[in-house]
Symmetry: C2
């Protein structure tokens, strides 16, 4: 079994020193609770509602920043996936996720589907996210709005992902009474149709004009919710990620083999 | 506004005379209530749990069957989408949907994704479903398991569908207390990520070893449920199908334009 932790935070916009401490403490806390996989929110080090390219640049980090070493030291036996505002060697800003395994940075994924005003700050990532063979399973990382593109979740399933780790910052939207956040419904559907576990780590709080949903959700490969957080704090569950490998549901039904790619 | 009706039925397996009457009465009843679009379940004329190719053949219809004329006469101003067991001119059996507009059969769609044992009875359809310009909007028809392939719902959205009419026979599956049928969650997600209304007409009852879910659901283009039926009978709602045409959610977000097809 793989113990997956999502730590729902409320970063402060453009306050890098605060967010360094906040995220390092979150990683340390999850590791102390035995987390094998630790997911933090999108843009956890910078906050979300950055006013300008200049403000975003002022809190951007390179993948060589000591913060990631700090995360790795705090969780030397875990996989860590957390969002940050990245300054590329090309001088551009990206909405990225750092992925660490056993203390080392093993990949940086740059969000490929930028939501709304993010397009005014960030460059869209040039490559689809990798599926990484980690010490705790085959893991793919997406960021927030990426999850609403089933082409991408399908691609990661076809590439053998057993778990999608999804840092998010879901802006609060109106919804009918009793309904879940729509992004959670989309994640549940993506999990079920791909028979693939998904861990969405959201954030809470308000930045400037934006309220966040606070809907961290861990979903198993049947599409059912195993743990949630609605306030700041952790949600965690133990998942059998090897179950994600089998796409055969019945003797004659197989979620991937039943595709008809010649028709799409 | 377009008044969409789903009539949830409990056909009898392999009892064609009964199901002829049942479906014709359903179309007549929906038309009498002012339905612009009428959706019936999958395999409504044959029942679902057909034991053998021979039994399926015994209740198969060609698209020229007088039943479809009867449906058309019963709803001369409506679009009707209903499932039937089709005998093709090639001698093969298909799990099909008849689509009528203003009394005339305008298309037959043959299910492209056959679920489980259906593969022992039917030939998978050779073509993706069309998007039809009808007198009540641009409508695409899918059948049941088809809806779980986001490649197909996306294709119909890209082809301009404003409403997906989905005859289904959802076998009852275990689910956690308080959760909707998983197929409904999948339909809600498909509606929201494509900004497209979806009307799923399910069935009730039990045939041989199979219990049906009875989860007819009409979903608007935001992915919210507008009407449901849990027992035999109709669910209906008025939908502004023209709203499905606009995929721009915010000044800088557009659900279809934001795709990155070069990455998938």
């Amino acid at each position: 079994m793989t113990r997956v932790h999502c730590t729902q935070l409320a970063p402060r916009v453009a306050d890098l020193p605060h967010n360094r401490e906040l995220t390092a403490a979150a990683v340390r806390g999850a590791a102390a609770r035995g987390a094998d996989v630790i997911v933090l929110p999108e843009l956890a080090t910078s906050g979300y509602r950055l006013n300008s390219v200049a403000e975003a640049a002022s809190v951007a980090l390179t993948p060589h920043d000591p913060l990631f070493t700090q995360w790795g030291t705090a969780a030397p036996d875990s996989v860590v996936v957390g969002g940050f505002c990245e300054l590329g060697t090309d001088g551009r800003l990206y909405n990225s996720a750092a992925i660490l395994d056993r203390g080392e940075l093993i990949a940086v994924y740059r969000k490929t589907h930028l939501w709304d005003d993010e397009k005014l700050l960030f460059t869209p990532g040039p490559e689809a996210p990798p599926v990484l063979d980690t010490s705790h399973g085959r893991i793919g990382a997406l960021i927030c709005y990426d999850l609403e593109f089933p082409e991408l979740t399908r691609k990661l399933a076809l590439n053998g992902a057993e778990l999608l780790a999804v840092p998010t910052n879901w802006p609060l939207q109106p919804r009918p009474t009793g309904e879940r956040a729509p992004e959670v419904t989309i994640a549940m559907a993506a999990a079920r149709i791909n028979h693939l576990a998904i861990a969405c780590c959201d954030r809470t709080g308000t930045e400037r004009d934006t309220h966040f949903t606070g809907a961290t959700t861990l979903i198993d490969q049947h599409g059912w919710i195993r743990a949630e957080a609605t306030d700041t704090g952790t949600a965690h569950t133990d998942l059998d990620l090897t179950a994600s490998r089998n796409k055969r549901l019945t003797p004659h039904a197989d979620l991937l083999a039943d595709r008809r790619p010649e028709l799409y």
